[in-house]
C-alpha cells in the first residue's frame, strides 16, 4: 500500500445556473494571454450539446484515454510508445484550432477613432490568428442554453449512442450545465503520453502539471487527454493546462473557479488513495465496473493502518486530518452521491459530479404533481429513462443504477427536509428507503444545501516549514547583511527597506527571495511593510498586485496633477 493524497473537486450540478463566472475568472487569471486565447481551462457546456472542443467525447475520432487490450493490459488509445514516436512529426489525433474555435477580438479602435459620418462606426470581429475580418461561426459555448441545437444536438456523442426516438424527446425534457476543468486523474493519459516526461503528477497533492521548461511541444498530451483539457499554446509552442490554481491551494485557499462560483456548487478536499492499486483498478474488464474499482482505490483516513502507512510516507498530521474532514470523501464514499465523469476512459478522473435532479423535478412540477414528494419523484426517476440514461452515459459508462441511486438520494433529501422545514414530523422511512439514516441525511443536507465555506473547502496548506528550518540550519551565513542573502531570514529591515534590491520579478522587488508564484513568496509578500508591497516592478510604476491600500496612494500610481503636484 502506497498512500497518496489527491486534491479533488466535486461539482453539484443541481446548483449550476450556467453563468460562466468560473470560466471568466479562470480566464482572467490564467489564459488572458497570447497563444491561449482559445483555451478555457474551465469551461461550462450545455448538455445535450457538442461540448468544447466540439465532440471531444467521441474517442473513436480523437483516441483519447486508455483501452484495455486482449491481454488485459492498459494501452493508450492513441497508440503505444513506439507508435507515438513514429507519429511524432505529425500527430494524427490532434484537434485543430478550428475544432475549438478561431479566437478573435473586435476592432474597438474604430469606435473611438472613426471620423464623423452618417453611419455609426462598428467594431468588426478580427481574427487573432490572421488579423483579418472574420465571421464568428463557433466558440467555446456556442450552443449555450441549447442555442441552435436543433441543428447540432444530434451530433452530441452521448446522444449518438442513444436511439433516434430518444433524441427527439430529449430536447423537450432536459437541459443542464456541465462545468469542466482538468480531472487531475489518478492514471493520467496525458502524463503517460508525454514523450519528454515534462508532465507530471505532484506527489504531495496529485495535481497534474506541465513543466514548461521541459515541454518540447510534441503535442501528444493534447490528443491523449480524453477530456481535451490540455491546450497547445500556439505562440510559445508549449502545452498548458488547468493547474488547480496550485499557488492558492498551497496556501489553503480554494481555486479561482471555486471561490467565484455564484452557485457555490464546488467542493474541494483531499482523497487518500492507494497508488499501487490504481493500475489494476483501471484495468478491470467491464467498463461499468470502473466506478466501483475506482472507489476501491480510496483509503479510509480513519483506519489506523492507513494513518500509520500515511505517516510512514511522510504525510503530515494536518493533512491526514484534512482527509478525514474532506467533503469529497463524504460525497464519494460516505453518501455515494458523487460520480466521476466518463470513468470508461480509464484515467481515474478526480473531479466528480453530483448528477442534477432539478430537470426531473421540473418535469414533475410542470405536470402539476408535487415535485417534492418522494414517491412522485422516485416514480419520475424510474419513468424518465431518457435523462437518466443520458446521465449514465456521462457519469457511469452507461450503467443507470449509480445515477438512479444518486438521484433517489437527492429526491429523498428534498422530501425529508421539506417536512422538517414545514414543522411536520420527521419521516424516518424516507432516508431508510435510500439506505441512509436521518442523521446522515441531515448532514448531507447541511453539506449540499447550506454549503458553508469551511465545509465546502477543506484544504490543508502545503508544508514548507520543514524545508525552511533545514535551510536555516544549513545556511548559517544567511543572516541580515550576510554574504548569503538568498534565504528566507533576510526579511526587509531598516538595513535594506526601500533601497534597490536587485532585478524585479513578477511581484516587484522582494528582499532576496527567488520569485516563483508559490506559497513561499506569497508568505514573503504578506509582510507588514507597505514599502515592500508597493514597490514598483519597473521604475516609475506601481505594482497594484501587492498594494494593500495602506500608506496612501504611492508615488507613480497616478500621473502627476496639472500644476505638477504629485498626489502622494
Amino acid at each position: 500500500m502506497r498512500v497518496m493524497a489527491q486534491m479533488s473537486m466535486i461539482m453539484n450540478l443541481d446548483k449550476c445556473i450556467g453563468c460562466h463566472t468560473c470560466s471568466v475568472t479562470c480566464k482572467q487569471v490564467w489564459t488572458n494571454r497570447e497563444g491561449v486565447e482559445y483555451a478555457w481551462f474551465n469551461n461550462v457546456e450545455t448538455r445535450p450539446g457538442l461540448g468544447y472542443p466540439r465532440q471531444y467525447e467521441d474517442q473513436e475520432r480523437w483516441k483519447g484515454g486508455w483501452v484495455r487490450n486482449k491481454r488485459g493490459r492498459l494501452k493508450l488509445k492513441g497508440g503505444g510508445r513506439l507508435n507515438k514516436l513514429a507519429h511524432i512529426f505529425n500527430n494524427p489525433d490532434l484537434p485543430g484550432i478550428d475544432d475549438y474555435y478561431e479566437p478573435w477580438t473586435y476592432d474597438y479602435d474604430m469606435l473611438t477613432t472613426a471620423p464623423a459620418g452618417t453611419q455609426s462606426p462598428v467594431a468588426r470581429p478580427k481574427s487573432l490568428l490572421t488579423g483579418r475580418n472574420m465571421d464568428i461561426k463557433w466558440s467555446g459555448n456556442w450552443d449555450d442554453d441549447l442555442g441552435g441545437s436543433q441543428e447540432t444536438a444530434a451530433q452530441d456523442p452521448i446522444l449518438a449512442t442513444m436511439s433516434e426516438k430518444v433524441k427527439m424527446e430529449f430536447e423537450e425534457t432536459f437541459m443542464f450545465y456541465l462545468p469542466r476543468i482538468c480531472e487531475h486523474c489518478l492514471n493520467p493519459a496525458c502524463v503517460s503520453a508525454c514523450p519528454s516526461g515534462a508532465m507530471y503528477k505532484r506527489e504531495e497533492d496529485g495535481i497534474v502539471l506541465v513543466d514548461e521548461d521541459g515541454c518540447r511541444g510534441w503535442r501528444m498530451c493534447v490528443s491523449a487527454c480524453p477530456y481535451k483539457k490540455v491546450y497547445f499554446n500556439h505562440k510559445t509552442g508549449k502545452a498548458e493546462k488547468c493547474t488547480l490554481c496550485y499557488p492558492l491551494i498551497e496556501q489553503g485557499k480554494p481555486t479561482i473557479c471555486s471561490e467565484t462560483c455564484v452557485g457555490r456548487l464546488r467542493y474541494l478536499g483531499l482523497m487518500l488513495y492507494d497508488a499501487d492499486a490504481v493500475l489494476e483498478a483501471a484495468s478491470v474488464e467491464n467498463d461499468q465496473d470502473l466506478l466501483e474499482a475506482q472507489r476501491s482505490c480510496f483509503l479510509d483516513p480513519f483506519d489506523p493502518e492507513v494513518i500509520a502507512a500515511a505517516k510512514a510516507e511522510g504525510m503530515a498530521d494536518d493533512w491526514i486530518e484534512a482527509a478525514q474532514k474532506s467533503p469529497i470523501r463524504k460525497l464519494i464514499t460516505e453518501y455515494k452521491v458523487a460520480l466521476p465523469l466518463h470513468p470508461e476512459y480509464r484515467t481515474m478522473p478526480m473531479v466528480w459530479y453530483i448528477p442534477p435532479l432539478s430537470p426531473v423535478v421540473d418535469v414533475v412540477s410542470n405536470s402539476g404533481a408535487d415535485g417534492e414528494d418522494t414517491r412522485t419523484l422516485f416514480a419520475a426517476i424510474d419513468k424518465l429513462r431518457i435523462p437518466v440514461e443520458y446521465l449514465a452515459g456521462l457519469f457511469s459508462a452507461g450503467d443507470v443504477k449509480p445515477v438512479e441511486s444518486s438521484l433517489r438520494k437527492l429526491a429523498a433529501m428534498r422530501s425529508f427536509m421539506r417536512d422538517i422545514n414545514l414543522g411536520r414530523d420527521e419521516n424516518a422511512s424516507i432516508p431508510e428507503s435510500v439506505g441512509m439514516t436521518a442523521t446522515e441525511m441531515k448532514a448531507m443536507y447541511r453539506l449540499l444545501a447550506i454549503a458553508k465555506y469551511e465545509d465546502r473547502y477543506v484544504i490543508p496548506k502545503a508544508h514548507v516549514e520543514t524545508a525552511r528550518e533545514l535551510d536555516e540550519l544549513g545556511c548559517s551565513l544567511d543572516n541580515e547583511g550576510g554574504p548569503g542573502m538568498g534565504g528566507p531570514s533576510s526579511h526587509a529591515g531598516p538595513h535594506n527597506g526601500g533601497r534597490d534590491q536587485g532585478p524585479a520579478g513578477p511581484y516587484g522587488n522582494t528582499p532576496g527571495m527567488p520569485l516563483n508564484a508559490t506559497v513561499d513568496n506569497y508568505n514573503e509578500m504578506v509582510g507588514d511593510s507597505p514599502i515592500i508591497k508597493t514597490r514598483p516592478a519597473t521604475p516609475g510604476r506601481i505594482n497594484l498586485l501587492n498594494w494593500n491600500g495602506t500608506g496612501g496612494a504611492p508615488e507613480g500610481m497616478f500621473p502627476p496633477k496639472l500644476g505638477g503636484v504629485s498626489p502622494a
Binding site: 510508445r81 484550432i97 492514471n187 516526461g197 511541444g217 500556439h234 548559517s476
Partner: protein
C-alpha cells in the same frame, strides 16, 4: 594552400563548430522555455500531414547516409565487402530516394508556410533565415548528386570531402583536400556549415530533444513540489557553496535535537 582555403575549410568550420557547441549549451542553460519544435499543426494539418513526415523521415535517411559516407572510412566499408561500385549504387539510388522525399516534403512545408495566412504570421525572421539555409543546403546537395553522380561520371567524395571532415575531427585539418572538389559540393558544404553556425539560435534545436527516453520510462511521472520550491530548489549552485559557521559540539547536538 592559400588564405581562402584556410578560411573556408579550416577557420570557418571550426568557428561554426564552436558556436554550435557553446550556443547549444548556453541556450539549454538559459532558454529552456524557448526550446521547442514550435509546431503549427493546430493551424493547418491538411498539408502538414503529408509534408512533415515526408521531410522528417527523408531527412533521417539523409543524415544516416551522410554518417556512412563521411565518417566511415572507405577502407573499412571495403573490408566488409562494400565495394566502390556497390557503395556508389546504394548512395546514388537510396540517396536520390531520400532526396526526393526530403525535397518534396520541404516544398510542401515552404508552400504551406508562405501561403497559409495563419502559419505565415507566426513565422519569425530566424525561421526564414533557417529555411533559406536549410533549403539551400538540401538543394545544393541534391544538385551536386544529380549533376555529378547521376548525369556526370560520378565523383568519389569519399576520397576528398570525407577525409577532410575526419581531418577536422582529428584536429589535423587538411584544407587542400577541399580545393579541387566540384563547385556544388563546395557550396553544399559551406551552406551546411553556415546552417550549423546558426543552428542553436533556431527552432532546429528540437533535433536534440528526440525523446528516446520515452521508450524506457514508466508511464506516469511523479515529481515532488520540493524539487521546485522546497529544500532542494534552494540548493546552492556548484562553485558558490557556503562555508559552514563553526558550531560547538554542544550546540550541534542541541540543534539536532
Amino acid at each position: 594552400m592559400n588564405a581562402w582555403d584556410f578560411l573556408l575549410w579550416v577557420a570557418f568550420p571550426y568557428a561554426a563548430a564552436a558556436v554550435f557547441v557553446v550556443g547549444h549549451l548556453l541556450r539549454f542553460r538559459y532558454d529552456q522555455f524557448g526550446w521547442t519544435s514550435r509546431s503549427s499543426q493546430t493551424y493547418e494539418n491538411r498539408l502538414l500531414r503529408w509534408g512533415s513526415p515526408m521531410f522528417h523521415y527523408g531527412m533521417l535517411m539523409v543524415i544516416g547516409g551522410h554518417v556512412v559516407g563521411l565518417f566511415i572510412p572507405k577502407a573499412w566499408l571495403e573490408f566488409f565487402g562494400v565495394t566502390e561500385h556497390i557503395y556508389h549504387l546504394g548512395a546514388t539510388w537510396l540517396g536520390t530516394f531520400a532526396a526526393v522525399l526530403t525535397v518534396a516534403g520541404l516544398g510542401i512545408l515552404i508552400y504551406r508556410r508562405r501561403l497559409n495566412g495563419r502559419v505565415l504570421l507566426v513565422t519569425t525572421v530566424m525561421d526564414k533565415v533557417m529555411y533559406v539555409l536549410l533549403g539551400g543546403t538540401i538543394l545544393f546537395g541534391t544538385t551536386a548528386t544529380v549533376l555529378y553522380q547521376i548525369f556526370g561520371g560520378g565523383y568519389d567524395y569519399r576520397g576528398s570531402i570525407s577525409p577532410w571532415i575526419r581531418s577536422l575531427y582529428g584536429f589535423q585539418p587538411d584544407p587542400a583536400l577541399m580545393s579541387d572538389v566540384p563547385f556544388f559540393f563546395q557550396l553544399h558544404v559551406l551552406c551546411a556549415t553556415t546552417l550549423f553556425l546558426l543552428w542553436p539560435f533556431t527552432r532546429l534545436v528540437h533535433v536534440f530533444s528526440a525523446p528516446l527516453g520515452y521508450l524506457v520510462r514508466p508511464y506516469v511521472v511523479y515529481r515532488s513540489r520540493d524539487h521546485h520550491t522546497g529544500n532542494s530548489a534552494r540548493k546552492v549552485p556548484r562553485g558558490w557553496e557556503r562555508s559552514q559557521r563553526p558550531v560547538a559540539r554542544r550546540d550541534r547536538e542541541r540543534i539536532r535535537r
